[in-house]
Symmetry: C2
Subunit: 184 residues, 2 copies
DNA sequence: CCACTCATGTAAAAAGTTACATGATTCG
DNA sequence: CGAATCATGTAACTTTTTACATGAGTGG
């Protein structure tokens, strides 16, 4: 049995929380993993099929009225086993691809105004993210209090907050570079 | 003319620094963009061909003795134009995919020891990165002093340093979660 | 002389995104 | 009543990674 890829692993993880259709899983991922993981339909459905072929999940067709049929998937005992094994595998760093830095590297080909615009747009995004993370932390602490998963969920969010903070500090420092207006 | 994709844009950027073969570009990218951008041969060669078909670069075959022939590419005036235009395009955030956080999210399915191992391995990597960035900063400041590009190059490196710092602080905080040994 | 790296590149496979299709229902 | 959204999923396309191919030189 060939090893799971990351998407399949993530999907199995979500299915440990309860059964669901591809559509449900997409929704759930949106709510829970959103800030550090994203799956699109184009991956979810084929992945579920391959997981089923491998015996890690089972799907059962359910009729609904007014809505299309849906296939609800459940994780199998075999599936749980490979999910748990996968969790223990070491994490491989993924190749970096940072478009902002690529542009900044060629910064001399832009005017200061143009560089500043890139930086400020990034800054706004990070500011938004930072506030979102704070919101989620608050929400988790009040609405999910007592759950055994809570500390881990909080840790994933605080990761985001730490990063956003660092990005904001970097923005401030880097904006100094392009402080003066360009004369024309 | 369809818009450039990111790889093509990066390659054009490298070619503004001087002509080179696919192999040269790979080497150059390794030295310069390495920390925020990575291209593999599988992308470089086909991209160069498409860039040539579009008229943004021209390749000329050169014979060498003892080594295979090589095709050296130069950026054209047209190519410079689209490169500069691309630089001004806003940066799109790319979908997050953080395997460590995915695993941490399901942390209750692991022992504390196992979680700690993941965190510490990440911590070691970030510590290494941090030191590498410091080294590069020093090197840039001494060896590249006076170059007009220097401030931008430094900014790309300090971005990495800021992030690594934040990751290290997050590690310290998060390791507290799994401080105690698991009893068995 | 054997393994490894240099130097050049191709081809196949996997992963991921985007666009489309369909029919009901609900919102303004 | 038209537009948007829900709910389900497929198909096509793009991007990216990985594995392979080749021949010369080089270090042990």
């Amino acid at each position: 049995m060939k090893p799971l890829n990351k998407s399949q692993h993530a999907l199995l993880g979500l299915l440990t929380l309860g059964p669901g259709s591809g559509y449900d899983l997409n929704k759930l991922a949106d709510l829970s993993l959103n800030h550090f993981w994203r799956e699109s339909y184009g991956q979810i459905y084929p992945s579920l099929k391959r997981l089923e072929a491998a015996g890690f999940v089972v799907g059962s067709k359910e009729a609904q009225d007014g809505k299309p049929d849906r296939t609800v998937y459940r994780i199998t005992a075999e599936g749980e086993k490979v999910f748990l094994a996968g969790l223990r595998e070491p994490v491989a760093p993924r190749p970096p691809r940072n478009e902002l830095l690529l542009k900044l590297f060629f910064g001399t080909h832009m005017s200061r105004d143009e560089v500043r615009e890139h930086l400020q747009s990034f800054q706004r995004r990070q500011q938004d993210l930072f506030e979102t993370y704070q919101g989620i932390e608050q929400w988790l602490e009040t609405e999910q209090a007592g759950k055994p998963d809570l500390p881990y969920w909080l840790a994933t969010v605080s990761y985001g907050r730490f990063e956003a903070e660092a990005h904001l500090r970097w923005c401030e420092q880097t904006l100094e570079l392009v402080k003066e207006e360009t004369r024309d």
